[in-house]
Structure formats: structure tokens, C-alpha cells
């Protein structure tokens, strides 16, 4: 088995688990508001990016594909944050 590839995938899995636990902790802490939502969605973006690069192996494909999928990820996480921000800003 290619140890380098296995090591990269396993390291990505470790980060994904860590970020999921961070998300859960953020949920339990009772934190809310723009910053808490931002933290949760930045963690979701980071997890999605690791999945795309290490699990789906987009690290090894032309940049155009990476940009396309990362734009999708950025768009859905930003729209989620912005939509949640509207009622918070209205008070």
C-alpha cells in the first residue's frame, strides 16, 4: 500500500473528525450570532475542501476543476451564513 497516500487520507480524516467535534462543541456551548455561525460554516468549508482534495483526489486534477468545486462550496456556505445573518441584523 502506498504509505504516502494512506498517510494523507488518514491525516485528512483526523482533521475532519476534529472539526466535526469542534462543530458539536460550538452547538453545545450555546454560542449564537454572526461569529458563531461563521465559525461553524468555516469549519464546514474546511471539511468540504479536505474531502474534495484528499478523498475525491481533486488535488491531482487540473486547477479548473478544483476552482469549480471550491466555488460551489464557498457559495453554499456563504449564502447559508448571509441568510442566517439577515434576521440577526434586523434584531
Amino acid at each position: 500500500m502506498n504509505l504516502t497516500a494512506v498517510g494523507q487520507v488518514t491525516r485528512a480524516w483526523g482533521f475532519l473528525v476534529l472539526l466535526t467535534l469542534l462543530n458539536l462543541a460550538a452547538g453545545h456551548s450555546g454560542l449564537s450570532g454572526l461569529a458563531a455561525n461563521g465559525l461553524i460554516l468555516v469549519a464546514a468549508y474546511a471539511k468540504g475542501r479536505w474531502m474534495l482534495m484528499e478523498f475525491l483526489k481533486l488535488r491531482n486534477v487540473p486547477n479548473g476543476w478544483q476552482i469549480l468545486f471550491l466555488c460551489w462550496l464557498s457559495l453554499v456556505t456563504f449564502v447559508s451564513w448571509a441568510a442566517a445573518a439577515i434576521p440577526l441584523l434586523r434584531g
Binding site: V6, V9, L24, G27, H28, L56
Partner: protein, 191 residues
């Protein structure tokens, strides 16, 4: 055009050929991410229009179960990625064990999701309770169908385990993981 040139033309998928696995799977994956992306935007925008309904609905969800399911799918995706690496070096037995582990975790995801649906049903919550739960059941149910399809695909590529098949099947499974990683915070946590 000669027969050989025609065959080559039929195999030419342009930029899609750069991606791991069969290009047709990537056509499906691109279609799915656009569809789920539109559903996410619909959910988020509707939440901005009805913040009170969404806050009340979200309060009735169990973020721990959602988080547990995230860990289950992430670990399943990890095993699927390891299976491709194992097959690259010709270790077919290890590949099949890793795929079986990945599919088993997929089944655990389904069981946890059904337990969550059952808890909602016993609390009198259904598809028509309010806008939040209509979208909750629509999004999570549509994703659940993809998980079930993904388990079938993992089983199929376990049986027909060429490297190309493995890359194709696991690409679909990773797309299912990716969608859940965005869906979980959007539905359970952000508000």
C-alpha cells in the same frame, strides 16, 4: 473516419477525462451538487424569511445525532478512500474489507437517520408540520436516498473491483459525504 478513430472519439470526454473514475459518474456528481446547492440556498433563504419558524424547528432537532452521523459518514469515506489505495497496490482482499466497512457505516447512518425520523414521528412532527420540517424532510430524505444508492454502488464495486470501478463508485460516495458535511451545519447548527 476509421473504426479506431471512431472508438477514440467516443471515449473522448474532454475535461471530464481528467477526473478520477468514469466521466459519466462526474456528469451525475455535477448534476447532484447543483441540485443540492439549489436546495441549500432554498433552505437558507426560507430560513431568512421565517426565522421564528426555523428557530423553533431547529430547537427540536438533536445536533448530537447529526454530529454522530457526520462522524459515521466521514469515517466511511475514509475507508472508501483507503480501499482505492489498497486496490492500486493490488491488495484485493484488503480492498473488499475496507469497502465492506465503508458500506456498513453507510447502513449505520441510515439506521440513525430512521431513528431520528421515528423520534420526530412519535412527537407528532411530520412533513406538513411547518415550512422548516417540510424542507428538513425533503433535504435529509433526498440525501438519505443517495446514501442508500451509494451503499448499493459500494457493494457493486466490491464485486466488480477493477481500479476504474472503485474510483467511479467511491467518487459518488464522497459526493454523498460532501453534501452531508454542508447539510449538517446548515440544518442543525446555524441559526
Amino acid at each position: 473516419m476509421t473504426e479506431r478513430a471512431m472508438a477514440a472519439a467516443q471515449e473522448d470526454w474532454g475535461a471530464l477525462s481528467d477526473l478520477p473514475g468514469h466521466p459519466m459518474m462526474w456528469v451525475l456528481i455535477l448534476t447532484e451538487v447543483v441540485t443540492f446547492g439549489l436546495l441549500f440556498v432554498t433552505f437558507a433563504v426560507t430560513g431568512a424569511i421565517h426565522p421564528d419558524v426555523f428557530a423553533a424547528g431547529q430547537a427540536q432537532l438533536d445536533p448530537d445525532l447529526g454530529g454522530l452521523n457526520t462522524l459515521v459518514l466521514i469515517t466511511s469515506g475514509w475507508l472508501a478512500a483507503l480501499a482505492v489505495d489498497a486496490r492500486t497496490t493490488g491488495r484485493r482482499g484488503t480492498t473488499r474489507m475496507l469497502l465492506a466497512g465503508s458500506a456498513t457505516l453507510g447502513c449505520i447512518f441510515v439506521i440513525i437517520k430512521f431513528a431520528e425520523y421515528a423520534a420526530k414521528a412519535s412527537a407528532g412532527i411530520g412533513l406538513e408540520t411547518d415550512t422548516f420540517f417540510t424542507l428538513y424532510f425533503l433535504l435529509t430524505g433526498f440525501h438519505l436516498l443517495h446514501v442508500v444508492l451509494g451503499i448499493v454502488i459500494l457493494a457493486a464495486v466490491g464485486l466488480y473491483d477493477s481500479l476504474e470501478n472503485l474510483k467511479t463508485g467511491t467518487a459518488f460516495w464522497h459526493m454523498v459525504d460532501l453534501v452531508w458535511v454542508v447539510m449538517y451545519p446548515l440544518i442543525y447548527l446555524v441559526g
